[in-house]
């Protein structure tokens, strides 16, 4: 076991405005990584796959100690690196390196390649001898295919193409002979015509140098090629993890299923799929109750964490389908839906002053009758008129935990696969 990550948490406090802090108001916390556990065997490639805001990049950085974890631990080869101070961590950095997404931004424009790639040797005080550094850089350049080496040693980043820059970044990452490499979207900014080439280089390096990779990406297609195992992340958590082959052949979590369906294929017989999850990755400061994916999930049901904000979304979605007159008529019944912003399992919807709350209850009933299959209604326990409006009570949601699927090595955090919720 090279890497063991247990219940890792990285929370960022939002600073808020000066006035808000002065008044001691709650300014919010973003749980970028919220209780992530996984293990990585030597020589293995694990893909951390997620959309923007899933916490995949923060997770990768926290593992290398570039971000301080809020909780949990990270062990490299049995050493708990998350507990070390910076000075203690530095010698260990030799064993773990990072490849960043943007090759144009990860090389110092004022350093030529000999200096940039040899820089880690100086920082790690391995050698100060100029000739020694140059010969080690030459070996690294040769290893990543920037040959003839003499042509590249004295080049500056501005003289290189995107693919060449990324090769130089990889050369810098391997010059210290690391064991673990965290590669954060290493090919996403490259042209299609070179992506395969850089991926191939990474595969070769793994084989020849015995590297272990954590491949952070939003791209399930390249991950399929490169990874032994994949972990799908959504809003700071792993929702599905397992051998790549099994996950691609039989995705379980509805989020994984939709991601795989959404990837366009260069096949003109296929049309853009239309029945994909609505909406976008929600606000991380106030994540949805229960399962974070439930507002977008086509298969969500009673225990998934339905709440006030889902009622607001229901109305807003509906109002994009109504005509001007119909909308105006409904607006006469419903007062501000903005009051539904606070996450709660009971939601009070006030009728506009002077209007009959019963008419509002009727409206909800007719919306339900119109779309009875809408997952939202599975979470509604009760609707009744109260206090000049309508109160909707939701079933209490449960946060799904990662649990193994009966027949295999896949783990999924979804109530659909929890026997306790199957009737």
């Amino acid at each position: 076991m090279l890497l063991d990550v247990a219940d890792l948490k990285v929370h960022f406090a939002l600073r808020g405005s000066f006035a808000a802090r002065l008044l001691g108001r709650e300014t919010g916390v973003v749980k970028a990584v919220d209780g992530v556990s996984f293990q990585l065997r030597r020589g293995e490639v694990l893909g951390l796959v997620g959309e923007s805001g899933s916490g995949k990049t923060t997770l990768g950085r926290a593992i290398l100690g570039l971000v301080r974890p809020t909780g949990g631990r990270v062990c490299l080869d049995g050493i708990e690196i998350s507990a070390l101070r910076e000075a203690q961590l530095r010698p260990l950095r030799r064993r773990m390196q990072m490849i960043f997404q943007d090759p144009h931004a990860s090389l110092n424009p004022a350093m030529n390649l000999a200096e940039a790639i040899g820089h880690p040797l100086r920082i790690q005080k391995i050698t100060r001898d100029k000739d020694e550094i140059r010969s080690q850089v030459a070996a690294a350049l040769d290893r990543v295919g920037l040959t003839p080496v003499e042509r590249f040693l004295d080049k500056y980043p501005a003289d290189l193409s995107g693919g060449q820059k990324q090769r130089a970044v990889i050369a810098r990452a391997i010059i210290l002979h690391p064991e673990l490499v965290v590669a954060d979207e290493p090919v996403s900014m490259l042209d299609m015509s070179v992506r395969a080439k850089v991926l191939e280089l990474m595969v070769d390096l793994k084989r020849d140098l015995g590297l272990t990779y954590l491949y952070v990406t939003h791209d399930l297609a390249t991950a399929r090629f490169f990874c032994d195992r994949v972990a799908i992340m959504y809003l700071g958590r792993i929702v599905e993890i397992g051998p790549a082959e099994q996950i691609y052949a039989e995705p379980r979590h509805p989020y994984t299923v939709s991601l795989l369906r959404a990837i366009p294929e260069p096949d003109p017989r296929r049309a853009v799929p239309r029945d994909l999850p609505r909406g976008e990755v929600p606000d991380a400061v106030h994540p949805p109750l229960g399962c974070a994916f439930h507002p977008r999930c086509p298969r969500a049901f009673a225990p998934c964490g339905w709440e006030s904000r889902d009622l607001r979304a229901l109305f807003e979605q509906r109002w994009t389908t109504l005509s001007e007159e119909e909308f105006a008529a409904e607006r006469e019944l419903v007062d501000a839906v903005g009051t539904l912003d606070i996450p709660a399992t009971t939601a009070h919807l006030p009728a506009l002053r002077g209007r009959d709350p019963a008419a509002l209850a009727d409206l909800l009933a007719s919306i339900r009758a119109h779309q009875p299959d809408e997952p939202f209604w599975r979470g509604v326990e009760d609707v009744h008129s109260a206090d000049g409006g309508v109160t909707v009570t939701f079933r209490d949601g449960v946060e799904p935990q990662l649990r193994p699927i009966a027949d295999g090595d896949v783990e999924v955090a979804c109530h659909l696969y929890d026997n306790a919720f199957q009737s």
């Binding site: 959309e51 923007s52 295919g145 920037l146 040959t147 042509r151 590249f152 193409s161 995107g162 693919g163 060449q164 490259l190 042209d191 299609m192 015509s193 070179v194 992506r195 395969a196 080439k197 991926l199 191939e200 939003h218 791209d219 399930l220 297609a221 390249t222 399929r224 090629f225 691609y248 939709s258 991601l259 795989l260 959404a262 990837i263 366009p264 294929e265 260069p266 096949d267 003109p268 017989r269 296929r270 049309a271 853009v272 799929p273 239309r274 994909l276 999850p277 609505r278 976008e280 990755v281 109305f315 807003e316 979605q317 109002w319 994009t320 389908t321 109504l322 001007e324 909308f327 839906v337």
Partner: protein
């Protein structure tokens, strides 16, 4: 789309040069392409092939210092002959634009409603406030933005919603032709699919023609009617998406398709070398140094556009008519070795 339909917009032998200290960059070099009403045309190629320059050239939005030649025919006129002011009148109600970065194109200090009011006041003077609001709301609803959010500020929306607002802002003027330059590149895959769905519906709901500029061939395959493949400032192949993707005629198209990594990819493939320097492009066919099927003729004579069938145009000597090339010209070209590192 059949050729009997009068094109909405017709680009004829368009050239765009940029001046540099080393000499002119021929970013677009003799491009001809037609777009029919309501048609969705995909324009693909590696970065630096001139696809964005072509899109901007059509809109008359090139930076100062760029020189254009050729014709962009729209509504019976040549847009290249228009003054800046005349061009401004065409942009919006005639030809609209959807940018890549929705956040940087919306003014953070203006409400969504104000963006719409400004656009409509500019192009439809005399429209009443009520009419403006009604028309804006109708378009926004079509993009899935509820009327209750009309008076919100751009930062109150997610990235995907901001892109929908940008599309709505272009559509509110009911343009007949839209240029969308990498409209989904900054978006997540699920949101990308939503936006592509919306663009595909434009034709049905608004009868708007669309030029979709992208580096992603898979997006073109799924959403466009026709495709034009660009390399080093020239269109090397164009035709119906179904034909070009299932039976590419130009080796560059074939190589580009093979290097696309998708879920159905079983083998990694790449194109050796890099696109050429457009100050001094290679003689003959510009792809010949990287072409796996290059013949002797390719290194010194530029292939003309040929039409192997009605809908298809290919600029490649492989598509030459029998007898057009002699034995010697058909001999395989001995190419210079391309180093691993000479790549894009």
């Amino acid at each position: 789309m059949t050729t009997t339909v009068e094109p909405l917009l017709s680009v004829c032998d368009l050239r765009v040069w940029y001046g540099t200290s080393r000499g002119p960059v021929r970013a677009v070099d003799g491009v001809s392409v037609d777009i029919a009403p309501g048609e969705m045309l995909g324009l693909v190629g590696e970065s630096g092939c001139g696809k964005s320059t072509l899109g901007r050239g059509i809109l008359g939005l090139l930076p100062p210092g760029a020189v254009m030649d050729g014709e962009v025919r729209y509504g019976g006129n040549n847009l290249l002959a228009y003054t800046a002011e005349e061009m401004r009148q065409v942009r919006g109600p005639g030809i609209g634009l959807i940018f890549q970065e929705p956040m940087t194109r919306l003014n953070p200090l203006m409400r969504v409603s104000e963006h719409f009011a400004e656009t409509l006041r500019e192009h439809e003077p005399g429209m009443s406030r009520g009419e403006m609001a009604e028309r804006s709301l109708r378009v926004l609803r079509g993009m899935g933005i509820p009327p209750t959010r009309f008076r919100s500020y751009p930062h109150e929306f997610s990235g995907g919603m901001r892109q929908r607002i940008m599309i709505a802002l272009a559509l509110v003027l009911q343009p007949r032709f839209l240029v969308a330059d990498e409209p989904t590149t900054a978006l997540d895959v699920l949101v990308e699919a939503q936006i592509l769905g919306i663009l595909a519906d434009l034709r049905r709901n608004f009868d708007t023609a669309l030029l979709l500029i992208t580096h992603n061939l898979a997006i073109v395959a799924e959403s466009c009617d026709r495709v034009a493949v660009m390399y080093a400032g020239k269109i090397v192949e164009q035709g119906a998406v179904r034909d070009v993707f299932t039976e590419p005629r130009h080796p560059y198209t074939r190589e580009l398709l093979a290097s696309t990594i998708s879920l159905s990819t079983t083998r990694l493939h790449y194109i050796p070398g890099a696109p050429p320097d457009l100050v001094e492009p290679p003689a003959g066919c510009r792809f010949h140094p990287r072409c796996p099927e290059a013949m002797r003729v390719c290194a010194h004579r530029e292939p003309a556009q040929t039409s192997p069938d009605l809908q298809r145009r290919v600029a490649c000597w492989l598509a030459a008519r029998p007898g057009e090339l002699d034995e010697d010209e058909r001999e395989p070209l001995v190419q210079e070795v391309i180093h691993t590192a000479d790549e894009a």
